[in-house]
Amino acid sequence: MSFEMTPRAAAWFVTALFAIGVSASVFRIPIQVSDSVEILEVVDRTPSVAAAFEQGLHASNTMLRPMRQVGTRLLLDVAHVTGDRYNLVFRGFHAAGAVLLIALFTYVTRPRDWSGAAALCFAMLVLTGLHTFGGMMREAYPINHFLLIAIYCLAAFAIAETRGGLVADIAVCTLFVIASLTLESGLVVFGVAVAAYVAGLRGISRGALIAMAILAVAYVVLRVPVLHMTGNAVGERQTGYGTEMLTTSELRARFGNVPWLLYGYTVLCSVLTVPFSQPIAGQWTAFAPWDPQAPPLFFLNDIGTSLAATAVVVWYLLRRRPPDGRRRWRDPAPLAMVAVLVGSAVLSYAYAKSEIMSAAGVFYALVVYLGVRELAEVLVRRKPQPIVLLLVLFVSTAWAWRAMGLQYRLQRGAFEARSEWVLRLPPFSPPPVPPAEARLTPRLLDEALHRGRTNPFLLWPPYARLWGEN
């Protein structure tokens, strides 16, 4: 009896390994103090999920994210049932989300032959090596909403690729409601659905698109006339400008009278950061003054690999599809990528943040997969050139280095989140919540100190510097 692995089985085997590697490192990161302890303590005091939702509606004047409170409340209930094992439940949920995203990615790509399986291996490196993916995996408040939005967007795209029907329509409308009430950038789920429809997919019906449009209007009504919420203004959060990272007061001083200038710059930078890996959060870090003792060599790899992948994407988008001669950019995945990229960038107009662009990064990797698969098919039909093999191996290896950097960043994230449990508590800092209200904090502290041990500073230092940290 002989065993022969099919391309599809090989693709899922590689996917499983990536999912295990990423999820394990994500799971080791303790629940962080900043932006997590306060909401955990507040939500734990709410009497029900409905009360948590209500609390979420009024938690901020600029952010409408009640599903954050709902998710936190549901996970807290599970944690209480399992003996107050908060990290097991919250970090387990985050790790499961990482597995789901990676599995969905392979499901959507559907490699059928060895070229497809090889292209998937490359695309996995792009997916996990992009800086937007690292940000999406590293932090959670206490649930990682950027990861959820990326999952919702990919799930909506997968639904659009089905034969459709009532269940598909209800599912996508439900996804849209949950996504838009999880994070403002959840609105891009609608963009994915529209892009897929325009490109010819009919898994999401016209009726469902109309329903989603009505839900989007209801969202605006809820935000503005009902809850009297406003958008983010200049200086509410720090963001990059040129080679600098400006503080909130510097932003107000420089752009208080010309906010549109900052907004335009931030939207443009958010669009550029996915295909070029620069700027980072609006800051052109690669062009800031370098320390001659420690030149940031990682910029060369990050920008070089992104330029190579983006060149393949541009080449692919300009090609014509064999059956009808239509340009590839009008295909579902490229149009969905543009929708998520532009939609996410517009929604982050007031401040740039890599995590906001993480769903766009996922769709970018999807189009890289399509481009690389097609390029491989074109290359094998031409005269064999050894230099082509070396070039492909070089670019692929450079992306592999970036993908390994994700593991480094996640371990470093675990180190920093664990350290926060000493440095962001008394006597080093004021407590995140008043001691009288800190019902969960002692248990969270104990869990954080006794899990996820790792110390990136014990690595050979220049090694880490090649991944952009010191």
């Binding site: 590689v14 499983a16 390994l17 990536f18 295990i20 590697g21 990423v22 999820s23 394990a24 490192s25 799971f27 080791r28 060895w114 399986a117 090889a118 292209a119 291996c121 490359f122 996995m124 490196l125 690389v372 491989a376 290359l379 094998v380 064999p384 050894p386 093999l389 070396l390 492909v392 191996l393 692929s396 290896t397 992306w399 592999a400 993908a403 390994m404 593991q407 480094y408 371990q411 180190f415 664990r418 350290s419 449990w421 000493v422 440095l423 006597p427 080093f428 954080a448 100190l449 006794h450 996820g452 041990r453 790792t454 110390n455 990136p456 500073f457 014990l458 690595l459 050979w460 230092p461």
Partner: protein, 154 residues
């Protein structure tokens, strides 16, 4: 000779092998992390209190302090600051970490700071020219310093 069939095979390999290698390394490391809470790559851990203090590991210092002697001299690797491992007390390692909060933490967890130890710490801080730790230690003694017979870890 590179024929079309071999070229297709090599092209597929060039595209896939780096991804497969990363998948195997991180997958195996992930298995180990899930099963034993011990990743195989990129996750070194301090072996003792001095090593934790020297590498800014406040969490491990707190955990280890519950069972370790806060004044014991131990062999510590501090690759960010020292070229080779050195026998250090947690306080000396804390000064080498160039983090004043680490000195404060180690002291609060029970390390003794007598005049002789303070002089050693001040000499290490001066040799490293680290303003933060120099200023922190000056709170205890700002007098003139003679470091002739103090061994500075390099």
């Amino acid at each position: 000779m590179l024929d079309a069939r071999r070229f297709r095979l090599l092209l597929t390999a060039a595209l896939a092998v780096p991804g497969v290698v990363v998948a195997l390394i991180t997958g195996a490391s992930g298995f180990s992390a899930w099963l034993f809470d011990r990743p195989l790559v990129l996750a070194p851990m301090p072996r003792n209190l001095s090593e934790a203090a020297g590498n800014r590991d406040v969490a491990d210092v707190v955990v280890m302090s519950q069972a370790a002697d806060m004044n014991e001299r131990e062999l510590a690797r501090i690759p960010l600051r020292l070229r080779e491992s050195a026998m250090l007390t947690p306080l000396e390692a804390a000064v080498i970490s160039e983090r004043a909060y680490m000195i404060r933490l180690v002291r609060e967890l029970g390390a003794h700071l007598d005049a002789r130890e303070l002089r050693t710490l001040r000499c290490i801080a001066e040799a490293r020219r680290d303003r933060g730790t120099i200023a922190y230690l000056a709170q205890f003694d700002a007098s003139a310093l003679n470091c002739d017979d103090v061994r500075i870890p390099k």
